[in-house]
Amino acid sequence: MRMEKGKSTIIQQLIIAAMMIILMMGFGVLMLLQQGGVVDFGPAAFYQFLTIHGTGMIGGAVLAATAIMWYFLNKYVKLSLSVLKLNIVLFVLGVVMIIVGVFAFEFSGSWTFLYPLPAISSGAWGTAGALTYLIGLQLVGLGLLIVLLDAGRAIIQKYGSLGKGLGWDVITGKKREQDAPPAAVVASTMVVIVDTAALLSGTIVIFMNIIHVINPAFTFDPLLAKNLTFAFGHILANSTIYMAVIAVYEILSRSTGRPWKSNKAFLIAWTMSTLFTMIVYPHHLLQDTVMPTWALIVGQVLSFANGLPVLVITAYGALMIVYKSGIKWRMGSSLIFLSMFGWTAGVIPAILDSAIMVNHVMHNTKWVPGHFHMYMGLGVIAMLFGFMYYLVQNDQSIRPNQLDRFAFCLYTLSILGVSFSFLTSGAISTPRKFATHFEQWQAPAIFGGVSGIFLMIAIGIFIIYFIRYMVNRNKDFSVEKEIA
């Protein structure tokens, strides 16, 4: 059996991402249990866990999502495999530096590294920790940058421009709907645009922090720093789902035998997403009343509007394509369908929190992690594993069994448990990022921690399936070689 070009790199990348994600879940469980008063590692360890959990989860999600995007985009345009491999190398190097920065040099500035915290730790960590962490993060960013540049180059080569990649010529009626670029290309173009913008602002703010850490006499405007930091963080985290959703388009249309064509509404929705994703980040700054009021109001209005493309186009499209399709549910398609529920469900607490009035009493509580644990945990992660199961489903003798189906149910319930424990905590005003909780806040944290343990079991079963697959495949290879 011949492998498609790049497929084994993709699978390696997915397994690295999956391993990272399950490891980071471990840190998440430890944090929740500490907040619940079950275990106690002390605040220093807690905030190191917090930093590594946030960074590692975003990193893992980005790596997995990049693999999904690359795999499908490569079917339509010519991408460079060596760039993808170089990305993995840079990623691993960066992650190693981040781990060293956090655990050896005790950097615990959280993954938002909000200026001027990296330089002013009140003795908790030194220059070395902050620098190792920030440079590590920059390396991960550089890896992503080359993948994006390569994707952008390939899209321009085939379609003429990024505007055409988004199908603007179809929207304006210059080209027929039948000739519109496929969904994978449209989504990739969007991601290339928004993530490059994110990386530009991220690089600026990371280098600014590096300068400030080396020489604290060079100070910068904290408000601009905050804007750039959240533009970077928000766009990057948000874009993972726009990369991973390509798997939804491709897998659902193949599994149901129905086409998922880009039409005008679809293209307009994606152009809206491109724009909104880049400019909704001020909803992270609704507490900063020194921001111009119009910017904050725009932050609220656009955050509402940003829900429309997914709620009206993508999720609706997923429902339509499945409806009375006679689909034969397999692990891949089930997880993918579930992921669309996770995405839409995760959007709801976010939209509500972006109302300034609500934000005023719910932001910086656990309501916010409640939102993104659902959005990422039941959205991106379901897409990741759905894609992995899909990728290998026709390949070999190992078939998903009862255990995998059990893991599917366990995963769904436990990630809902984690998310709802956060949402409940947020509804009773529990602050996020606290090493310890008052007694009345502990119960949901314990519930979340226990759900997290079950979640790890479910994810563990998913991962074991792929390790079995890889082992089998290697055996096949050596047998093939012997025969040859």
């Binding site: 905030y47 917090l50 915290l117 020194v290 006679g326």
Partner: protein, 173 residues
Amino acid sequence: MIQLIVWYATLLFIILLAVVFGWVAFSSKKKQDYAPIIKRWYKARSIYGVLLVVLMLVVTIYTLRELPFNEPSHVEGVEVIPVHVEAFQFGFELNMTEFSVGDTVEFNVTTKDVTHGFGVYDPDMVLVGQTQAMPEYTNTFYLTFDQPGTYQVLCLEYCGLAHHMMMTEMVVK
């Protein structure tokens, strides 16, 4: 109050979504041609889309009537008490910590070192207002104390290893 409304709204919408997704998954066993489905459900989508936009507009207008960082309209003629807050690693300095029920306070919040949060909790430990304490800037918001007792102030932006212990109190009589 707001928290409760938002909590139930979230629950309601998520359950609604679950029902829709469940129903579609259940109906997927049957097989029908796609073309008539597209025709029918595109029509439904226009209605659903318009409804959603209208709903969002209503909520937007409703929630933007009064913003916590503008002086509240009901205090016209009433004196607003300005309070200066300076946060530092790891505590708060308030130039005034005793108030009476019904007082409307204008919190002017800044910080000596890194970014902190300034979250006010009422005696039932419900978050009633917050802003960020940012270096070089002063953020302002208004709050009316409507309950006697001890209000807690917690730091709501991660600021270092003693972040969770950074708190102070205000007494409302």
